[in-house]
Amino acid sequence: MYIPILFYVHMAQSAETSPGVSFGTDDETELILQSLEEFVEQEVKPIADDLGETLTNPRLGHEPNGRLTDEVLEARREVRRKSAEAGFYAMNMPEAVGGEDVSAVTWYRANKHLAKQDVPLASNVLAGPGGPKPLLAQAEGEQVERYLEPAMRAEKTTAFGQTEPGVGSDSPNMETRAERDGDEWVLNGQKQWITNAPYADFIQVFARTTPQEEAGRHGGITCFIVESDEYEIGSLNNAVGATGMQAEVHFDDVRLSDDRVLGSVDNAFYDAMSFLGLGRVEIGATAVGHAEWLLDEATNYANEREAFGEQIGQYQAISHKIARGRANALAADTVGLKCAWLLDQGEPAIAESSILKWFASNAFWEIADDVVQIHGANGLAEENPFMDRLHRARIQRVVEGTDEIQLNTIAKQYGVEM
């Protein structure tokens, strides 16, 4: 027999209950967001203003091969260093390594908040793929002083060397190999689409150290720290919308001692997988932030621009695009918060972070497309930022696992046998 509900309710009220649902913003996060905004205004904006059009005109700020110019690189460095000094840059890292140990929820909100600032260079305030991530927190012995600490202080930047030309999404099939020779490792292979590679001081490179047949598909991969004078940068992989950010990297008989192994031998793929959720939370946060900013811009435009004698916001072809965008952005935001909360509970959030990646990227993409359309020919004009955002959104649906790979993961995680 079921027991009437009254019993439960009264029992529950007398006991200590576990926390239920909340969408509040705790004081700490509130203060951080406010402080970030002030930091951008007072520290980042002057640097960006100094550079002016260099940061927004696609024919400026880059070498012919796409590489960022020295003056842009220096500006980015300065922003990062100031942010590290102020305690923002890698505040999600553990206190033990010099971070602030802020929660994933706070980190999500901070990333989203920055993406809503219409100040070039603001994206450098929080550590992105070039900054220290939990993988690097595994640093031991001399690695701490040489790599982890300078990365935390933004004095050095890094990169993750995983993607390869031949294998794409099928990364366990990588061809980069490190073989034992005496008490050293010899690393050979080629990576591509490596973010921050052209500017990094060192790269965290994934290489197969034990064959799949012995170690299994995901075993047998080790992460090595390789310094910039030990590898060659090949062609830049200039994605439209992210020119100069990625490049090919060549490793040609690079000899590395054991103290270059980050974490434990043969285990790097598992380590990396356990931090995957965090990367997706960052992507989701950025997508939602950009989306909300675009919707604000579109709303202003819809209220100002007139056609056929009316503000264009009066036409449902305009206002309903904004409304759908708001609905999808809000949904993406709540999914982002759920993912971040799960990470804070120590859950891997594999399904949820794939859902966030897919959902938020697609919401951003559709919103960016609609906001271009709302602005008409002005939406296409280079001097406005809308096509730039559309390019970024388009990239988001491919990098860090394409839409299709995310859907595969979601289906599997929910029990579809594939």
Partner: protein, 388 residues
């Protein structure tokens, strides 16, 4: 034995493809990067008769119609580069307008030159305060003896510096609410970039074209009444007729881009192997391409049907608006899917699909937004109330 229409069309397709195959991606890349007009390609089109495909034989053209021009544009565009869209200004705006509405003198003067590739046009229509609503243009032409004096500003005007002629739309009478399409006039302006009364500034647009876009300031330009195309005050009506062909030609270009995107994606999906098989074996890769291909072929049929109706002098505005709406939408979908098929490579210059997507995306907004096409269909073909 007379050759059937289908056979003629197949022949056109084949020979256009052969011509276009001579011009590779580097050729186009070079002209886009340097914003340089593709002169040798243009001359080749002229030499093979394609610029005059819809111009009467007595002026040196092929004497065919928009249906055939549509096929030419589609195939040039499917072959890559900017080969399709290049038709809009001269063979369409210049050629079609003069063929249909020019005086005998004008026809004899301009049409043979267009056929031979010696006369290129630009189009002075869009204004800062009159995007979608052509009737609200503010450029005025006032009569002074047998001349007109023109003042105003045009924007998003392509190729002014390289054009031999500008087809300029100006208002010659105040708006009459009882007959709103009256009061505009089309002027033929020679060597527009060299006129003292015309000043130009370039605009930046985020689209990979070989043409610059200009803002055009017109301050006291004098044009003789003999250079009116059609008749005074009747320019809007002529323009609306020509705008149908602009949209058909634009649809053909978008279709070619979309089909090219599918072609390139299929090729890549067959070559690229991940997880031990070509990525094209995955339904998440192949089904969207199959659907895009089916949609593009359907949009193509209605585009042909618009062109054929225009050639027969029938009202083609339903088919034209459907062609405009669907070809831009389906091509943009197809190109975005082609990027997705290419993964990271889809974002690089090496694999052309990103350029295709950028070009296709523009066609959802210009020459008229898809929302305006839907307004037109709803109001004029479904009989719903005006919504704007």
């Amino acid at each position: 034995m007379p050759v059937s229409e289908t056979e003629v069309h197949d022949l056109i397709r084949r020979s256009v493809r052969e011509l276009a195959a001579e011009y590779d991606a580097d050729y186009w890349r070079e002209h886009i990067d340097q914003k340089r007009f593709p002169g040798s390609y243009w001359q080749d089109l002229a030499d093979n008769g394609w610029l005059g495909v819809a111009i009467d034989e007595e002026y040196g053209g092929e004497g065919m119609g928009m249906h055939e021009m549509t096929i030419v544009i589609e195939e040039l565009s499917r072959a890559g580069g900017q080969g399709g869209i290049i038709f809009i200004l001269t063979p369409v705006f210049g050629g079609i307008s003069i063929q249909r509405h020019g005086t005998d003198v004008q026809k004899r003067e301009y049409l043979p030159e267009i056929v031979d590739g010696n006369c290129r046009f630009c189009m002075g229509l869009t204004e800062p305060n009159a995007g979608t609503n052509t009737l609200s243009i503010e450029t005025t032409a006032e009569r002074d003896g047998d001349e007109f004096v023109i003042h105003g500003e045009k924007t998003f005007i392509s190729s002014v510096e390289t054009a031999d002629e500008m087809l300029l739309v100006a208002r010659t009478s105040e708006l009459d609410p009882s007959d709103p399409t009256r009061g505009g006039t089309l002027f033929l302006v020679s060597d527009p970039a060299e006129r003292d009364a015309i000043s130009l500034s370039t605009l930046d647009t985020a689209v990979p074209w070989f043409e610059e876009q200009y803002r055009v300031n017109i301050d006291g330009l004098r044009v003789h009444e003999d250079d009116i195309l059609g008749t005074e005050d009747d320019g809007f009506r002529l323009m609306f007729d020509t705008l149908n062909t602009e949209r058909i030609a634009g649809a053909a270009s978008a279709l070619g881009d979309g089909l090219r995107a599918v072609d390139l994606a299929v090729e890549y999906a067959n070559d690229r192997e991940v997880f031990g098989q070509p990525i094209g074996a995955h339904q998440s890769v192949q089904h969207p391409l199959a659907e895009s291909y089916a949609k593009l072929l359907a949009a193509r049929q209605i585009t042909y049907s618009a062109a054929a109706k225009w050639d027969r002098g029938e009202d083609c505005s339903m088919e034209t608006n459907a062609a405009k709406l669907l070809s831009s939408q389906f091509s943009t979908e197809a190109a975005s899917q082609a990027i997705q098929t290419h993964g990271g490579n889809g974002f690089t210059k090496e694999y052309e699909v990103y350029d295709l997507w950028q070009n296709a995306r523009v066609t959802e907004t210009v020459p008229v937004s898809n929302e305006m096409a839907k307004n037109h269909i709803a109001e004029h073909h479904l009989g719903l109330p005006r919504s704007y």
